[in-house]
């Protein structure tokens, strides 16, 4: 194979004078995690609200929620990324658009990336939350009403606490997805882990070393997330209620 392996490359200085290539990848991981976590907050908050709306008896709310989910689910993530980054600043008033475009890097691409990932994932979480609430026995909702709770109270004290425990496993995989999907932000110039590996490859020409390192880091992150979520699941478990049977298969990433 005519390829010059050089595993020492990670300790060689990168051309931007910031230290070794290894440091580059660590910074990349930092941005990946920062992007994923920030987007996760949006995704969880919006997803929970929209998902809940879709289970209310109010028809127009259900329809609004459905439209929201369909919108974000049926456009590829990369195209949504472009909409946030290239299109949105041109549609808003000029002053605001200019301000958006002139944010210094990495914020100029970080902010659109976070918004894009956040809303994209919120639609998926909304779907999980809706399924979680609807999987609860109907008696629970009736019991809440029978106790004289208002609709919001029924949700707050009866339905949501149980639903959230049910959706925890699918949420784990959504969290993994948001980490992986943050790599798409490299197309709008965010220097996250995959982008770092790619530019390390461009500068050093050590393609396979760079991508191997990135792959290993993603696997490690994956393991950490899975272990952490397992601990969390055990913490919040309601005895005898969940953990029964595997979740239904879901298409997705």
């Amino acid at each position: 194979m005519q390829y010059n392996w050089n595993w020492q490359i990670f300790w060689q200085p990168a051309p931007d004078g910031s230290g070794a290539y290894f440091g580059w990848l660590v910074w990349g991981l930092g941005w990946t995690v920062a992007t994923a976590l920030s987007a996760w907050i949006i995704a969880l908050a919006v997803g929970a609200v929209v998902g809940t709306l879709r289970t209310t008896p109010l028809n127009w709310m259900v329809r609004l929620g459905n439209t929201y989910v369909e919108f974000f689910r049926n456009i590829p993530l990369l195209v949504q990324m472009f909409l946030w980054y290239f299109v949105l600043p041109e549609l808003v008033p000029k002053a605001l658009g200019d301000a958006m475009k002139q944010m210094p890097p990495p914020w100029g691409s970080f902010v659109p990336a976070v918004l894009c990932l956040g809303f994209y994932t919120s639609a998926r979480i909304a779907e999980q939350v809706r399924a979680g609430i609807q999987s609860l026995p109907r008696g629970q909702r009736m019991a809440g009403t029978a106790l004289g709770l208002t609709l919001p109270q029924t949700y707050r004290h009866v339905l949501l606490p149980m639903a959230f425990r049910i959706v925890l496993p699918p949420l784990t995989s959504e969290f993994m997805n948001i980490i992986k999907n943050s790599a798409v932000a490299l197309t709008i110039g965010l220097m996250e882990l995959t982008a770092r590996a790619r530019s390390m490859q461009e500068f050093s020409f050590q393609v396979f070393e760079a991508f191997t390192a990135a792959t290993v880091i993603y696997i490690l992150v994956n393991i950490v997330v899975v272990l952490a979520m397992r601990v969390l699941e055990r913490r919040v478990q309601v005895p005898g209620f969940i953990g029964t049977g595997p979740a239904a298969p879901q298409a997705g990433h």
Partner: protein, 303 residues
């Protein structure tokens, strides 16, 4: 029967000889082209006028024309009446790995030949000499690299230009924010839409991008050349027989003066798609290369 013996011997000898000629063992890329009957040219999307898409989305350009001449030379060398030409798009970031892994056989574009890259790939005889500069909007009044202190600039990922900008940033402590874009058009748009103030690139590419812009008058290219960038057509490393044919073809163009016609077509006459005449006369540096063809990756050779 006896009468025919000499004739038979002659016949056998002829057959044997031609078989020997046939079996002249080709290696590397030459063998691959001979065996598959095809060659894959890597091309660019927006390296105007070296290798780019016209309005019918056909790949055209100065480097493409040179590559087609190389393919003609390969036909002669391999005694093949026809070689299928396959085209594969590459970006600055993908061209070197795709060359190494055999996806493309020649890269026809605007790739700087330098010593560092020669550790990975080989280059044919230099087909253009340019320099690293930056383009910016006239309104922002930026002349030298020092004016860019603390500003956001852009370059195309995987190029020598972004690397140089990165190094300047360290040496001169400029504190510039450098964005990496996918291709030259995207980099240019980054400045056009106001996300960055300057775009570092080879001046010839900047020049053609400006000429194709909506308002060419709005733009200005920095006066100082920051480097010397000899362009070469890339091929796989350690493939001397192939390189010999490729360089032979290019040097032939230089010797016969045919290069002048190709040069004129792309730099001194209106070019597709917008019939723009870039009007870039041949530089002294490139004239020197034509007189004494070289494939050196050392910028000092071109000074």
């Amino acid at each position: 029967m006896k009468r025919h013996v000499p004739l038979l011997i002659a016949l056998f000898a002829w057959a044997g000889l031609s078989a020997a000629a046939q079996a002249q063992e080709f290696t590397g890329t030459l063998k691959k082209i001979k065996d598959t009957g095809a060659i894959t040219l890597g091309h660019r999307e927006t390296s105007i006028p070296f290798s780019y898409y016209d309005d019918k989305q056909q790949v055209i350009g100065y480097a493409m024309d040179i590559c087609y001449k190389i393919v003609d030379a390969l036909k002669a060398e391999l005694k093949m009446p026809k070689i299928d030409i396959k085209l594969n798009p590459v970006t600055s970031a993908t061209r070197i790995p795709l060359m190494a892994n055999g996806t493309i056989d020649l890269e026809c574009g605007s790739t700087t030949n330098n010593l560092e890259r020669q550790k990975q790939v080989w280059f044919a005889t230099t087909h253009f000499v340019t320099a690293n500069r930056f383009v910016s909007k006239k309104a922002s009044k930026l002349k030298t690299v020092d004016d860019l202190k603390g500003k956001t600039v852009v370059s195309t990922s995987g190029t020598t230009n972004i690397k140089q900008a990165t190094e300047f940033n360290v040496q001169k402590k400029l504190g510039m924010n450098i964005i990496a874009a996918k291709d030259h058009a995207e980099s240019f748009l980054t400045v056009d839409t106001g996300r960055a103030v300057a775009f570092f690139m080879d001046d010839i590419l900047l020049y053609t991008l400006v000429a194709n812009a909506k308002n060419p008058g709005d733009w200005v290219i920095s006066p100082d050349a920051l480097s010397v960038e000899p362009y070469g057509i890339m091929m796989r490393k350690d493939d001397a027989p192939f390189k010999k044919v490729v360089n032979g073809a290019i040097n032939g163009l230089y010797k016969s003066g045919e290069i002048n016609k190709i040069y004129e077509k792309w730099f001194l006459k209106p070019t597709p798609p917008k019939r723009i005449n870039y009007n870039v006369p041949m530089s002294a540096q490139f004239k020197k290369v034509i007189a004494n063809p070289t494939d050196s990756g050392d910028p000092d050779v071109y000074k």
